[in-house]
Symmetry: C2
Subunit: 216 residues, 2 copies
């Protein structure tokens, strides 16, 4: 078996940003392979659907060659592989809470509120219906973060995911300022070194991708 560096397949500012943040937190040795979100072509010219049949990001090629999919599973895997980074609780109940938030963010926020908004094939009614869930779902998270710095007792991969999702409010009709606790949480995390670096890199790649598509 040839061991190699992990490879993260990502699209700029998509939910794969959370995995990049986790890898930076862990100071993990990894290669980042961009995937054009519209054409599903990797930046090095491959058809991403030949790599991941559903062409979803993130996907993490492990050092033994396996391709791991699903953000919630990938984030927990990174946390487990790099325990020194303390990206997940170590007690059973703490891990249950981590999974609770990863599940909430991925189902209620990511898929429930934001996914149809970014889906070019979604009709206007589907986008509007998804956005109608924003009030209750974001208020639920805001209530959790009232008086807290992080979702759990310290920074975890759930914060990396929630930060990533909250950023999407800037390109959707959801006005994050309606939840001051969430706006403050996002702004705090935005200053965290791993996140500032990851965001700046992906923001630049996002702008390049927009410019490419504007030309074609």
């Amino acid at each position: 078996m040839v061991m190699r560096t992990m490879e993260l397949y990502f699209s700029p500012l998509a939910c794969s940003l959370a995995t990049r943040i986790a890898l930076y937190e862990a100071e993990a040795d990894a290669t980042f392979i961009g995937v054009d979100a519209e054409s599903h072509t990797t930046y090095d010219g491959r058809d991403y659907a030949q790599i991941h049949g559903l062409a979803l990001v993130p996907a993490l090629r492990l050092d033994d060659g396996e391709l791991l999919t699903e953000n919630a599973a990938i984030l927990q895997h990174v946390a487990e592989q790099f325990p020194a980074a303390r990206l997940a609780p170590t007690d059973a109940r703490g891990l249950t809470h981590l999974r609770q938030w990863l599940s909430f963010i991925s189902t209620e926020l990511h898929k429930g509120v934001f996914n149809p908004v970014f889906d070019a094939t979604a009709p206007a009614d589907a986008k509007a219906h998804a956005l109608s869930k924003a009030q209750s779902r974001l208020s639920w998270v805001a209530a959790r973060l009232e008086g807290r710095e992080f979702l759990l007792d310290r920074f975890s991969v759930a914060d990396a995911y929630l930060y990533t999702v909250l950023n999407w409010t800037f390109v959707t009709p959801v006005d994050l300022k309606r939840w001051p606790v969430l706006a403050a949480y996002r702004a705090r995390l935005h200053e965290r070194p791993s996140i500032a670096r990851a965001f700046a890199q992906e923001q630049a790649l996002y702008a390049e991708e927009r410019a490419r598509h504007a030309k074609t």
Copy 2:
């Protein structure tokens, strides 16, 4: 601290059926509290939104009083609490695979394909758009189950969840017969004693709930 029996809040044939199946597999001592899916009133007359702010099922009241939410987290918690039932792998990679499937089922199948169909507030376009994802997502699971008895090496909580979601095809325009491997998998699981018992009980409760609403 008064220790008490776990309580599962469920709605008949909703995704909470997966937790009931897991509890039966574990022969866990638990109380089952029905929640009317339309009125959000518990069968014993309480406003469920006062128990779970978003009124989502399942929610599991633990024996120390904490209310655990989010199906993926609850299912893993039950598997951990009852290791003798072997409802989850015990090795790290196996657990990663379990989380991968729990995440796929909850995001791509449950929220992505079926949730809008059951949401009385969802416009027709939102339902149709969600259903348009069925072909690719169910084919993805079918490819995994080709030649396999279960999603992982043996029965796990991921199978309890997938069985529950596949049952929804019978009350939606998704025709499970288009994926013979999925139809056969669902039929096999349907014969499993824990599942046969759980389904029969919830099917009866579902019929009672329909009859109540037909009268009003």
